[in-house]
């Protein structure tokens, strides 16, 4: 063999071995057999480590508390965040693949594939029933945090559905805050006569439409019949058979047919609806309290330019209920619970409950006696103190598909392409499918 031939052979052997070696590394690396050393980033500190996957609102509210917790305990809290929609999409996959964080944001009831009810029944969440703070759960929050008698979620805050109105527009039209349905309709008529759109209805996508359904159902359906969810689940009634549910949509239709909702409502996105209230083109908008800072930001007058009230649904001012939604954290059952439980105990301390609520301008998650810095929600606090709160209607439906049908078919109903009987029939069909 000549020297050139030997070099040539050596080169071929090297290429072959390099190729095989690369293939092996790629394959094994992809299978997870090769340690990349990335784990070294999880420095637990002297007090242990905790990972959390929360939504962006929780991330903002928790930031000062995490800093305080880390200082106090020497522990490390590694937080990832995403919008609620993105989080809901990713968390299911993370739980299935075993990569979910220790502390996770979960939806209330059965409202999504990553809701307390759904994950709890699958054994994905740790039982928190022994924690001292469970004594401070409000009734409507407890109903959504419990699965088979076990508390599986911690409420970091609560949001309420409120009617936000432009004070100047109300004053110019000589309108007082309504306390009954008839007063509300009369106020709309007066506002309409003054040349403004009485109600901003940014119903593109249906999100703001559902607030109307939940707000009216809270007073018309749940206050009248607190057992309605159990009756629906047992097949003792249906949406179509239940007169109160029919009344909910009759109320919305009354406003739509009178022309009190925005023109072209199905093409208006949420931000434009809120801006129309801020500019005075529209008088009020039904929204969640967590969105109030965004509304206030659209006006030079800030929070002072707006007021809120609970949407009345009948002619008894004392019967109006406020729909309230807890924002939950839960502990992944696959995680070491000690650090997560310790962190939740820390969040449940009254001063920390207050810190979170004031940071975010939301209602405290626990029924703790907390003084809020902001008086934005003061008009509805007496109702909440009287126990006149109710969970969103969709939370105890069997799954998120019933709500999705309401959002999409509800748009067809608003457009006049579907009548109320047809809409309620579709909800019943989806509800039955969810139970099967």
């Amino acid at each position: 063999m000549t020297i050139d031939a030997a070099r040539s052979r050596l080169a071929r052997v090297l290429i072959q071995r390099a190729a095989l070696g690369t293939a092996l590394v790629v394959t094994l690396g992809a299978c997870g057999f090769v340690n990349s050393g990335d784990d070294s980033t999880e420095d637990g500190g002297s007090g242990g480590s905790l990972t959390a996957y929360v939504n962006t609102e929780q991330n903002t509210g928790l930031a000062p508390l995490i800093e305080a917790y880390e200082e106090e305990t020497g522990a490390t809290v590694d937080v990832s965040s995403a919008t609620t929609d993105e989080l809901n999409q990713q968390l299911r996959v993370q739980l299935t693949s075993g990569t979910a964080a220790d502390l996770i944001r979960v939806s209330p009831g059965n409202s999504s594939p990553v809701a307390v009810g759904v994950l709890g029944r699958e054994g994905e969440l740790t039982d928190l029933s022994d924690a001292a703070w469970t004594d401070e759960l409000g009734d409507d929050t407890r109903a959504l945090a419990e699965v088979d008698g076990e508390v599986l979620a911690f409420p970091v805050s609560r949001n309420a559905i409120v009617m936000a109105y432009n004070r100047q527009v109300f004053e110019d039209a000589g309108v007082e805050v309504p306390t009954t349905w008839q007063e509300f309709v009369d106020a709309c008529a007066a506002l309409d006569a003054s040349g403004v759109t009485p109600i901003a209805a940014p119903f593109q996508g249906g999100i703001f439409f559902q607030f109307w359904v939940y707000a009216l159902a809270g007073t018309l359906v749940y206050a009248e019949n607190p057992d309605i969810d159990a009756q629906l689940a047992a097949g003792e009634t249906t949406f179509a058979e239940n007169a109160e549910w029919g009344e909910v949509f009759a109320r919305i239709a009354e406003l739509r047919d009178a022309g009190y909702l925005s023109d072209g409502m199905l093409g208006i996105p949420a931000d434009q609806g809120m801006q129309s209230v801020a500019t005075g083109d529209a008088a009020m908008v039904l929204m969640v309290s967590a969105g109030l800072p965004q509304l206030h930001g659209y006006s030079e007058g800030g929070a002072d330019a707006f007021g809120v009230f609970a949407l009345p649904a009948n002619d008894d001012p004392e019967a109006t209920m406020v729909p309230v939604a807890p924002d939950f954290l839960a502990v992944n059952a696959a995680a070491d619970p000690e650090a997560a439980l310790g962190f939740l105990d820390f969040l449940a301390e009254p001063e920390n409950v207050a810190t979170y609520a004031n940071e975010m301008g939301v209602l405290p998650g626990l029924a703790t006696d907390v003084t809020l810095d902001s008086d934005v929600l003061a008009p509805i606090e007496p109702l909440l103190a009287d126990g006149r709160s109710v969970a969103y209607a969709n939370y105890l439906w069997p799954n998120g598909d019933v709500q999705q049908t309401m959002l999409q078919s509800g748009q067809e109903w608003l457009d006049g392409a579907l009548d109320t009987t047809g809409l309620l029939g579709q909800l019943d069909a989806e509800y039955a499918k969810g139970q099967s």
Binding site: A23, V26, S112, P269
Partner: protein, 309 residues
Amino acid sequence: MTLTASPPSTDGGPEVARRRSRRASVPYLLLVPALLFYAFVVLWPTLQGAGYAFTDWAGRRETPGFVGLDNFTELFSAPAARSALRNTLVIAVSTTIVQTLVGLALALALHSALASRNLLRTMFFAPALLPPVIIGFLWQYILTPAGPLNDALGAVGLGGLAQNWLGDSSVALASVIGVIIWQNAGLTMVIYLAGLEGVPPELHEAATMDGAGRWQRLRHVTLPLLLPATTIALSLTLIGSLKLFDQVYVMTGGGPGYATETLSVVMYKEAFVSGRYGYSTAIALVLTMIVFAFALLQLRGLRRFEVQQ
């Protein structure tokens, strides 16, 4: 000149054959890492995903139950899914036809000695460079009832044409199609411009000398020679519009009601909103088959037409 027979080759023999064989195998060995990676990242998940289409997998840990063809039966019987299938086909066919014609017209207009042609080419192509999500948010704003489009129509005395572009179920699908064409017509234009560069000017000169007018030269010289570009443009447009998702999801979310819902949007909602991964995979499988069938039919038809021309 003397011709002599060549001596028998001395570089033959088993050793040489082995060396040639080894040398020939080197490229294949170099391909192995990429093939393994492709198989692991693409082929295996694809086949596994196809399997889930026949299960009721809800993204949980336990083994999903086999449901046979139930997911496919539901897909073709549920009114919402049928509506999405119809919308998908309407978008695909109308977008493919109109976008190709608009792209061709732009290319013919700008394949000229026009002084501003490069600027115009850039302007028409620019939307194709923007992310679809950005396009979606931009047009969602433009098309709102109080948005710039209706304002502009009012300003030029055409207020009667103002519409609730995305909120009226009778015009929402057409609005979405218009946006898709607006974004991608520039890409089709570029494909045709490349095709036009390949048309020999001598053919036009010869045709002109034979007395052919502008329309006859276009009909009998330019368009036949643009058939390969047409094949590419039609294929890309059809495949892209069949799997359309981003712009629809951002602009309308499939609404109002179900008016603009496409198969891709339903697939997304079923998987990530409802957690029905098995059913969603069945939709993905059907969509893949539709794309494959359309692309194959179109390519074969156009290739045959090219050969005939």
